[in-house]
């Protein structure tokens, strides 16, 4: 179909300002948070009601036009990367909180509502929405559902999938479907789980009911400094073995510590090989006891210094360094590339050594921040996009880190999603029959395969091509496939 004809169809129910088709208007939508990948969309539409979304999808369905949904565009895996022959469906205008029900501890919101705005809106009731991805000021709840976003409190409070109760979505053929329920579960299959983290491949989310929980009475944080990363890893295991579930348990390595300290001067020990931040929350009596026990465990496992925040301001400061780690690293190198592997915690020291070896081989430094409680590692590879082949080397380095994560029993993505970025590594993590099962699930929702095509799940053909380039110990991956 011709672009002009499609615009005419959209104009029947969308205002002129809600349809973008000129290059200068399309430019802001060419990438999401993974800015190394850019594609100018064919057309951008910005609907503001459900009827318009249904109509857009119906037209695209009828004319076989692919559609990519987008929230705030903060995703880190290129999940909202547009298609040059597709419609980009911007949901930013769906930014209203529809209902707050403190008695049932829920909020019903539109997908374009920002993550942090939910907690702010319900703060007066003593409630909050637990998942707190680092982009929470800007990222939207619709995008959080699409990516199953996490944050620093996941070990205790869960990911997005644990904190939503109901979704309204529009299928590619324009039908409205409600899944989940007003209680703690819904009828039939657990489509709520299936939709969460499906990267916009199965349906377009137009309403989310989130679970709210009471703000804990009290929180206290400890900062522990270690001379070696192994000890910090052992301390994490010891804390968990003793039956503690910290509200937050974060690790940073020396390069990350120095970058953060240079940036915001919070008093981090810049000589330490690693620091751990361990926050306990709950009732004041419980937290005080827990903090004493955790302090002993940290010291017994090799921490040379353990400090407690003396007040809430100090606690915020200790966290500020961790939360600023990414921008801080951004100051010491022109560009960085953030990875997102998850590993069994006990393999941490081994994986960090592996990353160091790779860092030397590729000639690119790497800073490590780590959601230690969850085993979710964020190595930040430093590079300079202006140098020829630096980005390419950074990507290859990143790919090897992810493959290392899979080899030690982990996964290529803990919370950022596959998107376009890690699509090749999906071939490493899954066998052909498993990828085929994913494709069958996709077909169950979107038989024409028009929603966000080319993301999240690679074709077997792509894996065959990728496998030809990555032969480990002489074993060809997906050997059953023809090579092209």
């Amino acid at each position: 179909m011709d672009k002009g004809e499609l615009i005419l169809l959209f104009q029947k129910f969308l205002s002129t300002e809600a349809i973008l088709s000129e290059e200068e208007d399309l430019r802001p939508y060419e990438c999401d948070g993974l800015s190394a990948y850019r594609t100018l969309p064919w057309i951008v539409v910005l609907p503001d009601n459900v009827y318009q979304v249904r109509s857009i999808l119906r037209i695209c369905y009828e004319h076989d036009i692919p559609v990519v949904a987008r929230g705030a565009g903060t995703g880190l895996s290129g999940g909202a990367l547009p298609l040059e022959n597709g419609v980009l469906l911007g949901l930013a205008k769906f930014n209203r909180i529809l209902e707050i029900d403190p008695s049932n501890r829920i909020a019903r919101v539109q997908p374009g509502v920002r993550n942090l705005a939910i907690s702010q809106a319900v703060a007066d009731y003593g409630l909050y929405y637990a998942p707190d991805p680092s982009s929470q000021i800007a990222c939207t709840i619709g995008g959080n559902v699409a990516e199953n976003s996490g944050g620093v409190h996941c070990l205790k409070y869960g990911l997005t999938v644990h904190n939503i109760l109901r979704l309204k979505l529009i299928t590619m053929d324009g039908e409205l479907v409600t899944i989940g329920g007003s209680g703690l579960d819904g009828p039939g299959y657990d489509l709520l789980a299936l939709m969460t983290g499906s990267e916009g491949m199965l349906g377009v989310i137009i309403e989310v009911t989130v679970k709210l929980i009471p703000v804990p009475d009290y929180a206290q944080v400890l900062l522990a400094a270690f001379n070696c990363v192994e000890d910090a890893g052992k301390a994490v295991a010891a804390i968990i073995a003793e039956g503690h579930i910290p509200g937050g348990l974060e690790m940073m390595d020396n390069l990350a510590i120095r970058a953060a300290e240079d940036f915001i001067h919070v008093g981090y020990p810049i000589e330490a090989a690693a620091i751990l931040l361990c926050e306990m929350d709950g009732t004041q009596i419980q937290v005080s006891d827990d903090i004493d026990q955790v302090r002993s465990l940290l010291l017994a496992n090799g921490a040379y210094d353990v400090r407690a925040a003396r007040n809430d301001r100090e606690r915020q400061q200790m966290w500020a360094g961790r939360k600023a780690a990414f921008p801080a690293v951004g100051r010491i190198a022109p560009d960085y590339y953030c990875m997102d592997g998850t590993i069994p915690r006990k393999r941490l020291a081994e994986v960090l050594r592996g990353i160091l070896t790779l860092s030397e081989r590729y000639g690119l430094p790497v800073a490590n921040v780590f959601h230690a409680g969850d085993g979710n590692l964020h190595p930040l590879i430093l590079y300079d996009a202006n140098k020829p082949d630096d980005l390419e080397r950074a990507e290859k380095f990143g790919g090897e880190i992810l493959e290392l994560c899979v080899r030690v029993g982990g996964t290529i993505t803990g919370e950022h999603g596959v998107g376009v970025e890690k699509i090749n590594q999906m071939c490493v993590q899954f066998k052909s029959a498993e990828l085929e099962q994913f494709h069958a699930v996709k077909t169950a929702f979107d038989e024409k395969r028009l929603l966000n095509p080319g993301k999240a799940v690679p074709t077997l053909r792509r894996c065959a091509e990728f496998g030809a380039m990555h032969v480990h110990r002489g074993e060809l991956s997906h050997p059953e496939l023809e090579r092209f």
């Binding site: 008695s103 049932n104 703690l184 919370e415």
Partner: protein, 352 residues
């Protein structure tokens, strides 16, 4: 204690070739649940044993037909537990069966449901393929979340061969408090408590009294008791087990037992019968002879859903009817996992 996945795969392969349906049976303690499914028995009970248990990783991986009792005994040695407090409908209840039914006990509203603890699974689909999804790590968003989709699917999408679960430390102390009140006040009290930060780990109402369980270290429990008042219940763990396993006197009946899932603060629905509220009001048991259509309609009006949990009549439909498009998606998914329709056909809905 053995891995019989290849034998199971062979049986499914044969059934697939003959298009002959299979009924999956493990510990055979939940035959009362769901619709009747026809077919040859696929006996999975031999596929059992703990495959991997890492206390400091908070993860356990077991074969599908491993009895809950065996898992919980192993966890207890390290002061750990299955956080969703799984119901036992007999000593042979298995984790695979519990996951297939999507069952969770009294701790559910405060700790999470069985699906919340699922980290990964290995399954045998209706195409006789052995597939692995998720893993043994806390966070994993690679590919669709097929592991959690299996929770509550009643074996209609695949046979659960292996399950990896997040586990939790056991609270050092627990105490149960009781308060006399009527339905309306009970809902109000449970709502108020749930809105405050507190060490609650269970909350139910038996028609006359609200029972609140608090968990934590000794000082926390003592201080919560001082704040909340109430009468202390001795042998509190037996009390919660009787709710969890439906051995409490409320569940002694021969009429229909319904489970209604609804917003916890909802007022008493206008249905005749006897109520028991668990999960702070979000899971409501009803013993009634009211018509199923009426109950499904009222459940739907509240935004929730109903399940005819136990019934003397084996021929009745058990689950909330689904709207057309949602049912279509269910059928498409069934097709995606079990195109020949050989795994537990009809156990959930006639068309699945």
């Amino acid at each position: 204690m053995s891995d019989i996945s290849l034998e199971l795969q062979e049986i499914v392969q044969k059934a697939l070739e003959l298009e002959s349906p299979l009924r999956i049976v493990g510990g055979n303690t939940k035959a009362f649940y769901g619709r009747k499914s026809e077919g040859d028995i696929l006996e999975v009970s031999g596929h059992r044993g703990i495959v991997n248990y890492e206390p400091t990783e908070l993860v356990i991986t077991v074969r599908g037909a491993t009895p809950l009792a065996e898992i919980e005994a192993a966890l207890a040695e390290n002061n750990q537990m299955l956080g969703f407090e799984p119901p036992y409908f007999g000593s042979q209840s298995t984790l695979g069966g519990t996951m297939a039914c999507g069952f969770s006990g009294p701790r559910r509203p405060f700790a999470g449901a069985i699906r919340d603890f699922v980290l990964g699974c290995k399954l045998l689909n209706g195409k006789a393929e052995i597939l692995k999804f998720g893993g043994e790590v806390m966070k994993n968003v690679a590919g669709y979340d097929i592991s959690r989709l299996m929770a509550g699917a009643l074996g209609t999408l695949g046979v659960l061969l292996e399950i990896s679960m997040k586990i939790l430390p056991k609270p050092p102390t627990e105490l149960t408090l009781a308060y006399e009140m009527d339905f309306e006040r009970a809902v109000e009290a449970m709502t108020t408590w749930c809105r405050q930060p507190s060490p609650l780990s269970a909350l139910c109402f038996d028609g006359h009294r609200v029972f609140a369980r608090i968990s934590g270290n000794e000082k926390t429990v003592t201080s919560a008791h001082a704040r909340m008042g109430g009468e202390t219940i001795s042998a509190n763990s037996d009390f919660w087990k009787s709710i969890r396993d439906q051995r409490h006197s409320f569940f002694e009946c021969t009429a229909n037992l319904w489970r209604l899932s609804m917003a916890p603060a909802s007022p008493e629905p206008s249905l005749p019968g006897k109520w028991f509220l668990d999960w702070g009001g979000a899971q409501r048991w009803l013993i009634t002879d009211a018509e199923p259509e009426r109950i499904f309609r009222i459940a739907e009006e509240t935004g929730g859903h109903g399940i005819l949990y136990r019934s003397p009549d084996p021929a009745t439909d058990r689950f909330q009817p689904l709207p057309d498009k949602l049912m279509q998606l269910h059928k498409n998914l069934k097709q995606a996992f079990d195109p020949a329709g050989i795994l537990n056909p009809g156990r959930m809905h006639a068309d699945l």
